[in-house]
């Protein structure tokens, strides 16, 4: 078995909590974060349910100690909060002490500011500091500058698999010895752009989402940021670091089927899960739990379910659940949000439930885990899929 790359820190903010402990408590007490929209100005306010972080941008400015003329988008602010917690939990005070990189996944970056000020840039000078927010890389740089990482900085944008790919890249760079330490994950705030975009595809649910249910109506969008810290074996040994878990397997494949929809045989997902297990040196019997992508769209859950039955056999699919009914689908951040939930699963020996499930899907014999249970967990497989056929799988081990 591949020993994997050490995870030494994590930080998260989502609709179920402002930090790792709050997220864990919400998962353990089975209290979800799905509600009506309170802060974002949109016509769709009463049409959909979302996973909104119940804090205003002003709250974040204060919390981060930003100047009043800062150019942070909401996406950048929640990113900075999560990245800061990740560094703190890894006991990192000086990011420059080792060769440290930062890779953040985002789908629309600072779109929350762009859509707010786009029509006002010509008239109002004060808004113009947000013009650059239209570049996704600018969001990443706002965060990297805030946490003091100036070397290797990059942004991955592969829609809803972005953060998973960021974690994969971090693990590969460390394994190859190219860098000593990586802060990796993703961030996405709610925006009118994504709400209306997914709306045009008619895949937003007007009620709480129901992953893997036969009567599922679509997804709930959410907002979140989550980062994990990966460190080389040398640092772990030298600084006697506490290892929270390991990233042991990773793979990225493409469905090459349709610009947005997943194929009916789940080819991309199948290839990603298969290769990730090969890289981890694990067989199907070693997987204790699957944190599924499970967005609750008719298309995703069918495609992902088929891929799981192809890999494991319909009667041998491990215990699985989608945690999207807690947080909503946090787009580019989903991969790192669920990476942290996977690490918590391993640490706490708990399986977090797939909420709102009632009726088994007619296409196959798969029932997600619907109650919080204790189970000895050594290995978690986590899926993240996105537009453009992007399918990524990560495997976390004890």
């Amino acid at each position: 078995m591949n020993k994997g790359v050490a995870i030494t820190g994590m930080g998260i903010i989502s609709s179920i909590g402002d930090n790792v402990e709050e997220n864990l408590n919400a998962l353990k007490s089975v209290s979800h974060g799905i509600s009506r929209i309170e802060f974002l100005e949109t016509r769709q306010r009463d049409a959909i349910m979302v996973g909104e972080i119940k804090k205003t941008n002003e709250d974040f400015v204060k919390e981060l100690g930003l100047d009043s003329d800062n150019s942070f988008s909401r996406t950048a602010m929640i990113g900075a909060i999560a990245a800061k917690e990740a560094l703190k939990s890894a006991n990192i005070t000086d990011p420059d002490e080792y060769r440290t990189g930062f890779v953040s996944g985002t789908s629309v970056g600072g779109m929350d500011m762009t859509e707010q000020y786009y029509l006002g840039y010509h008239e109002t000078k004060e808004y113009r500091r947000y013009i650059e927010a239209q570049h996704a890389g600018f969001t990443t740089q706002s965060i990297s500058k805030y946490i003091g990482i100036n070397g290797y900085v990059s942004t991955i944008s592969t829609a809803c698999s972005s953060a998973a790919n960021a974690i994969m890249l971090g693990a590969r760079l460390i394994k190859a010895g190219k860098i000593d330490r990586m802060v990796v994950g993703g961030t996405d705030a709610l925006s009118k752009f994504t709400i209306n975009g997914f709306g045009t595809l008619m895949i937003l649910s007007d009620s709480a989402c129901t992953p893997f249910d036969n009567n599922r109506k679509g997804l709930n969008l959410g907002e979140a940021a989550a980062y994990i810290v990966l460190e080389s074996e040398d640092i772990v040994e030298k600084d006697n670091k506490e290892v929270l878990g390991r990233v042991s397997g990773w793979a990225n494949a493409n469905d090459a089927y349709h610009q947005t929809a997943s194929s009916s045989n789940g080819e991309g997902a199948y290839l990603a899960m298969k290769e990730a297990m090969e890289i981890a040196g694990l067989s199907i019997d070693n997987i204790d739990y699957i944190n599924a992508h499970g967005t609750a769209t008719p298309n995703n859950d069918l495609s992902e379910g088929v891929a799981m039955t192809r890999i494991f056999g319909e009667d041998k699919v491990p215990v699985f659940s989608s945690t999207k009914a807690f947080t909503g689908h946090t787009l580019a951040a989903a991969g790192s949000v669920e990476a942290i939930y996977s690490i918590l699963s391993i640490r706490e020996n708990l399986i977090f439930p797939n909420l709102n499930f009632q009726t088994q899907m007619e296409e196959f014999d798969l029932i997600p885990q619907t109650k919080l249970i204790s189970k000895n967990i050594k290995t978690v497989l986590s899926n993240s899929f996105g537009f453009g056929g992007n399918c990524s799988t990560l495997i976390f081990t004890k």
Partner: protein
């Protein structure tokens, strides 16, 4: 009705950017999806918005579109019966 059919053909060509297709090439009974005009699921969603925007017909479930968008003829009949503008 013939007028509505022609209007639909023009709108479909424009809305779906079918640059190489002429109105005269689309038969009233040709299937729009699959072997006919070759439209796909994204085009179906575009047509749902076209129904709402231009004819005041709102479909709740994208699955309803499948039968309505079978051909120009079927689509025109449906619009004539259900239009609110």
């Amino acid at each position: 009705m013939a007028e509505l059919r022609e209007e639909l053909k023009e709108k479909i060509i424009e809305q779906l950017s079918l640059e190489d297709v002429e109105v005269s090439e689309i038969g009233d009974d040709d299937s729009l999806f699959g072997d006919g005009l070759g439209l796909d699921s994204i085009d179906a969603l575009e047509l749902i918005v076209l129904l709402e925007k231009d004819y005041g017909i709102k479909l709740k479930d994208p699955k309803e579109g499948k039968a309505i968008f079978e051909s120009i003829g079927v689509m025109a009949d449906y619009i004539a019966k259900n239009r609110t503008k």
